[in-house]
């Protein structure tokens, strides 16, 4: 009996040591993320990476989105942070870099060649030193019910005024025009106000004028953006004050609402929920007489390298691989609605994702208005824009009052807003 146990013990020891030996040659890395929904999809991408680089294995370890920023910071301060991790764009990750938690990536092969300076900017210093690889962008537009548009004989509107006319026709026919609602307040900020704003403030250049103090946040363009929210307010569903994001999706899916201002990340939801449902998407049209139109193509996530990682060389292999067309294709096909940012042109398998991406052609692209520069103080631009848009919809503020509140709020801490041209 004892001999048997001794033998078993020896065998187990041998097994353990061989597996340990096998692990010696494979470097284990972890990747932090806030995308808890993407575990299976990221596994496919990481498996493809391990197939190309058999000696590096990456474990995807996401955190619940609301806790991500605080958790990551605690991990970084305590020395237990993942080797690679998702980076929010602009201020949130800039702070991490300035405090030395992020490795500068100026010498990373392929980073300068495969990404435009605009694409690198959300994860780079003002001098252009990158500390993150641009990773995921999301697009915004107006979803529409193709069958309902055909039934009512509606054309895709090409001007903002045309869009309101279409909405009126839909309402007259007894349907809800827009499925959007204020029950979940962030949706009004991110997929209504910041979706339509670039067309009214003049995209990237217009937004930069605010950030440089050349324009005040209550100028005619900002008022026009809030006015646009007021324009669509009468066409929101009845009881929209209490309808949630999920309710809006269902209203659109059930054909009760003809349009929905939404983001590209919902492509998989609509496709899996109702595969037969015929929907497509068009860009938020520019107001009449304005030739240049814009799309909110938001640079949402970058990938950063932990400055304290013990396997920087191996982690850089992954970051370099992120600049390749192979990675871009894998990302686009596994996570439809999340677009790769590199200049490598990829053809997307997903038809809806392709439609979304085609909206970018001939239009100016810009990120969501509040992200760059306006989140670094209190009250932050995000909350101010959200509260303003909600008040305009509720009718408690005029567009001018909402814009004034935005200007006054930002002027409490944001220098360009304090010194803007009157």
């Amino acid at each position: 009996m004892k001999v048997k146990f001794a033998l078993l013990f020896v065998v187990m020891l041998a097994l353990l040591s061989t597996s340990a030996l096998a692990q010696d040659s494979v470097v284990q890395l972890t990747m932090g993320s806030w995308r808890v929904d993407d575990v299976a999809q990221m596994q496919v991408i990481l498996d493809a990476f391990s197939a190309a680089y058999p000696n590096v294995k990456i474990t995807f370890d996401p955190t619940n989105p609301p806790d991500y920023n605080a958790t990551l910071r605690t991990q970084l301060e305590g020395g237990t942070a993942p080797d690679l991790f998702y980076l929010r764009s602009y201020a949130t990750s800039r702070q991490l870099y300035e405090e030395g938690f992020l490795e500068p990536l100026g010498d990373l092969t392929g980073l300068m060649e495969n990404f435009t300076p605009e694409a690198r900017a959300p994860w780079a210093t003002d001098d252009g030193v990158p500390y993150g690889v641009p990773f995921i962008a999301v697009s915004h537009g107006i979803y529409y019910n193709v069958d309902l548009f055909n039934e009512l004989g509606l054309e895709i509107p090409t001007t903002w005024e045309g869009l309101i006319e279409v909405a009126q026709k839909i309402k007259d026919a007894g349907y809800t025009a827009f499925a959007n609602a204020s029950g979940d307040e962030w949706t009004i900020a991110e997929i209504v106000f910041m979706n339509l704003a670039p067309n009214f403030i003049g995209g990237f250049e217009g937004r930069q004028a605010y950030l440089k103090g050349e324009r005040c946040f209550n100028d005619e363009h900002a008022v026009a953006a809030f006015q646009a929210v007021a324009d669509i307010a009468p066409f929101l569903p009845e009881g929209q004050e209490a309808l949630t994001y999920y309710d809006s999706q269902q209203l659109f899916l059930l054909g009760e609402a003809a349009m929905w201002m939404g983001g590209s990340w919902d492509i998989p939801f609509f496709e899996s929920e109702e595969p037969e449902f015929a929907w497509s998407v068009f860009a938020v049209p520019a107001p009449e007489g304005q030739e240049q139109a814009y799309v909110t193509f938001h640079l949402d996530a970058g990938m950063g390298l932990n400055a304290a990682s013990t396997h920087k060389e191996e982690a850089k292999l992954f970051l370099e691989w992120m600049a390749t067309p192979e990675f871009a294709t894998l990302l686009a096909d596994n996570l439809p609605g999340f677009f790769p940012i590199s200049t490598n042109t990829v053809s997307l398998q997903n038809e809806h994702a392709n439609t979304f991406l085609s909206l970018n052609e001939g239009r100016g692209l810009d990120v969501r208005w509040a992200w760059e520069g306006l989140l670094a103080g209190q009250p932050d631009g995000y909350t101010l824009m959200q509260n303003g848009a909600l008040a305009v919809i509720a009718g408690t503020q005029t567009p001018q009052e909402a814009a004034d509140a935005l200007q006054d709020g930002l002027a409490q801490w944001f220098e360009p807003a304090q010194n803007c041209a009157k």
Binding site: P66, R73, E238, A242, Q378, Y382
Partner: protein, 325 residues
């Protein structure tokens, strides 16, 4: 026996008694040790640590720069934080008042009815009243958001069905209605607890007292008002304190029905949701939370609770002294 011997025996006895006393005290201490350790590690230490954190500032979950009372000054001098703090405090008081008015009054009413031995099906009623309290708040909160949904919710359809369609509202989307509605949902869920406590209190009142009152010609209302209610005073005190503590810490029902921002427009923001947003989640989806400031809010919540409970204890003792018990 001589006196000397007697004294000696007495002394020995005294000493033995003293020794036994000391031993018994030691044993008591031994029995207390596990509870004290658990209490210290899991209650006292985190409590004092969170008070300590309120004097620090930093970006992560463990702020490290000592700033004195700067977090408190910021909370009460920066109009942004001050407005949200007092808004949350006001909402919490309203939330508590509605629970006292609705939940505890109904609890007393139900208990009075259930204490009637002639009531048929008492056990069924008791189970039905207590049932919601056994469910998770997240579950009941979600169910009520479905019932109250303006588009496909049962309540508005019911109102329309009986010809009261004009009363239909987006209940949770109206800044004036959302807080009362959520308070009522919470009262509905927890009404079973005060009912049980009042019922237990009513059952301890001796029948002789009630019978004597009836013989003296007291009406049912007089019996309730003059005999049952005064004898229930201690229970009413405990129920009030438990409601106070529970309501000033309430978070789950708001989180389930109105989100962490106390939507719409902070109208349902309670102290606990304000704390959660400030310390843990951040004001918007990509915000960086402020743990030091959050700890300051938590400390103020603790002080409010401490003041409330102490007040109850002091008032309780004064009353006991007056009645001589």
């Amino acid at each position: 026996m001589s006196d000397a011997v007697l004294t000696e025996v007495g002394q020995v006895r005294e000493r033995a008694a003293a020794r036994w006393d000391v031993q018994r005290r030691r044993t008591w201490v031994l029995f207390l040790v596990p509870a004290v350790i658990v209490y210290t590690v899991f209650m006292a230490f985190p409590l004092f640590n969170s008070m300590r954190l309120s004097l620090y500032q930093g970006k992560g979950l463990t702020p490290e720069t000592y700033v004195g009372f700067a977090n408190y000054t910021e909370l009460f001098t920066n109009p942004l934080w001050r407005d949200r703090f007092f808004n949350a405090l006001r909402n919490t008081v309203v939330f508590f008042a509605i629970h006292m008015l609705v939940q505890n009054t109904l609890g007393l009413l139900f208990a009075s009815l259930l204490s009637n031995v002639h009531l048929r099906g008492r056990n069924i009623y008791r189970a039905v009243i207590f049932l919601p309290a056994t469910l998770s708040v997240l579950v009941t909160g979600f169910l009520w958001t479905l019932i109250l949904n303006p588009r496909w919710g049962m309540l508005n359809q019911l109102l329309e069905g009986v010809g009261l369609g004009a009363l239909a509202r987006p209940w949770l989307g109206d800044a004036n209605l959302a807080l009362p509605v959520i308070s009522l949902v919470s009262s509905w869920q927890w009404v079973g607890l005060p009912t049980m406590m009042f019922l237990a209190g009513l059952l301890t009142i001796s029948d002789e007292l009630l019978e004597a009152a009836r013989v003296d010609g007291a009406s049912a209302w007089q019996v309730f008002w003059r005999i049952k209610l005064p004898l229930l005073k201690p229970v009413i005190g405990i129920v009030s304190v438990l409601t106070f503590v529970g309501n000033f810490n309430a978070f789950d029902v708001i989180f389930a029905m109105a989100g962490a921002r106390g939507e719409p427009g902070y109208s349902t923001d309670l102290m606990a949701t304000f704390f959660y947003r400030t310390a843990i989640a951040g004001e918007h989806p990509v915000a960086q939370p402020n743990m030091g400031l959050g700890a300051a809010i938590a400390t103020i919540m603790f002080l409010i609770l401490l003041a409330g409970v102490s007040l109850w204890l002091i008032l309780g003792r004064e009353r006991d002294e007056k009645t001589g018990t």
